[in-house]
Symmetry: C2
Subunit: 312 residues, 2 copies
């Protein structure tokens, strides 16, 4: 299957990031959003992101990349010739169901449709869609043009031939795809994030450490190795005999820790207010947008740094 024409449905932050991913790799991109205001502003936002990326040496010719992205006024026009459609609309089942019906009715028989859904399996919103075997979840990390990981999650009716093709196609775009073998709530990424978050909230709730100190534990401790190798490789290198040596030494500790959390509670309103209180004392709400820009600059600098590093 060829991969020349891409469509993006939903032109918010995630959809705009996908448009950059496709156009950066040389594809022609048609971008649609149901909101005329969002359509009108999309290309300007994309140009700003590309200019920032150029400042960090991540792209060269901003105009050439932006020039491959066309904002179109109808969903049908966006998707009818596409080899691949990335759906990035608001994450609510009914919204995803409605857009999947529209997309399925308009695509070619051999097109593939990936949804940016971060937690809802595609079987929950593609069951009644025309050509439903062409749909799956293709979940990026925000923003997709800076963080390369992509989760491919097929439903029970996704054509299995799509997976090897899409894995290779995503690698060709410079993304790092993984395959989740069957649907599970939260997929892999948000389940891993959720496990760490649940422990972080529980430690804060028990008064064991401040949110700032828990954040430092990751930002100046755990997160350094995890920015270039995963949890299995990390422990594989942390015992002389490798991962099995490590698991036999430390498995009992981790099992004991897990048993403390056998009755998980929701994050209560009171707990949320206490964490939010500490965060707002450290960073007023009015400074959240500037801090997000700092995060994006740090991510760009990190991505640039990673490019120069050997993988072995």
């Amino acid at each position: 299957m060829k991969f020349v024409n891409a469509a993006v449905v939903g032109a918010g932050l995630v959809g705009s990031g996908w448009a950059i991913v496709f156009a950066r790799a040389g594809l022609s991109v048609k971008l649609f959003d149901a909101s005329g205001d969002i359509r009108a502003g999309a290309l300007a936002g994309i140009r700003r992101s590309l200019a920032d990326m150029a400042d960090h040496g991540l792209v060269e010719d901003v105009e050439a990349i932006a020039g491959r992205i066309e904002v179109v006024d109808s969903l049908v026009e966006a998707v009818r010739d596409a080899d691949y459609v990335q759906e990035s609309v608001f994450e609510r089942v009914d919204v995803k169901q409605a857009i999947s019906l529209e997309i399925g009715a308009a695509i070619r028989d051999d097109a593939v449709v990936g949804s940016s859904s971060s937690g809802i399996p595609s079987s929950a919103f593609t069951e009644k869609a025309p050509r439903r075997s062409r749909f799956l979840v293709v979940h990026p990390v925000n923003p997709p043009h800076l963080v390369p990981l992509v989760e491919l999650v097929p439903s029970a009716w996704t054509d299995p031939a799509i997976l090897p093709w899409l894995r290779e196609a995503m690698e060709g775009l410079g993304q790092v795809p993984i395959v989740v073998n069957r649907e599970i709530e939260g997929f892999i990424l948000n389940r891993l994030q959720g496990a760490l978050l649940n422990e972080a909230w529980a430690l804060f709730e028990a008064g064991l450490a401040s949110a700032a100190d828990i954040d430092r534990t990751v930002a100046h401790g755990l997160g350094l190795r995890w920015s270039f190798m995963g949890p299995f490789e990390t422990i594989d290198l942390n015992a002389p005999g490798g991962v099995d040596d490590y698991a036999r030494r430390l498995g009992p500790l981790y099992h004991s820790i897990a048993q403390d959390r056998h009755n998980p509670k929701p994050w209560s309103e009171d707990l949320i207010a206490r964490v939010a209180g500490e965060r707002r004392a450290a960073l007023p709400a009015s400074e959240l947008p500037a801090r997000s820009e700092w995060r994006n600059r740090r991510l760009m600098a990190l991505v640039s740094h990673r490019r120069g590093q050997p993988e072995k």
Copy 2:
């Protein structure tokens, strides 16, 4: 309290790393190990680490730093004049108990003794030690001269005046200390790591993804942001209204995910063998040492990169 003379008891990888941390900051370091072979090789290993660090621009004068480290032949000689003692012997309760008795008998009344224990609270091995109010856990990440996070964990009998002094002293060394307000198994860092690891093993056991794909999810996804900001700040920037907005949107998903894990099982021998099988197919055991050297080079390059980045 002054902080001029440091002692390190136990000259393995962790103890040698601590010696570098102290000497790099200009302190005089006395280093002791019960093994004559380890004592004989310690300074050569430290010089190799310092030379690698110099190659990455992390230190300048290798000989001046190494020259501040003296390997001594007795524990008493190492600790008797020390302002601060870092104990880094093998992590087993009986071993830590015995060395704490010896250290407590030999130190000055106003010295502070930190244990590198990664999971055992100090109350389990300092109860009978002389001057037990001077002991606490000071848990680094391996290697301490590259990953700056340090957990300070007092026992019930640790003199509370030590904590503010030690937090400032560790910051003066270039480490990033956090305070764990009371003892808990695994402290903060390994509890967070354990939560993510337990989910990773469970996802692998259920056949949802390969160990390699789970590793990619962290190394090319979650770990990028976590290498410069912690989990609370990450979610604070991932919803327009901040952490409370995020918690209300996604708390129910994470609670639902946690409920899947209400009955945590130990990692079985069969499961360990399957993970180890995948890892050994990817990296033969004979290549573990070379891969650990790659990890250290990546860490050094990352630390060098981080130094040039603005914190806001």
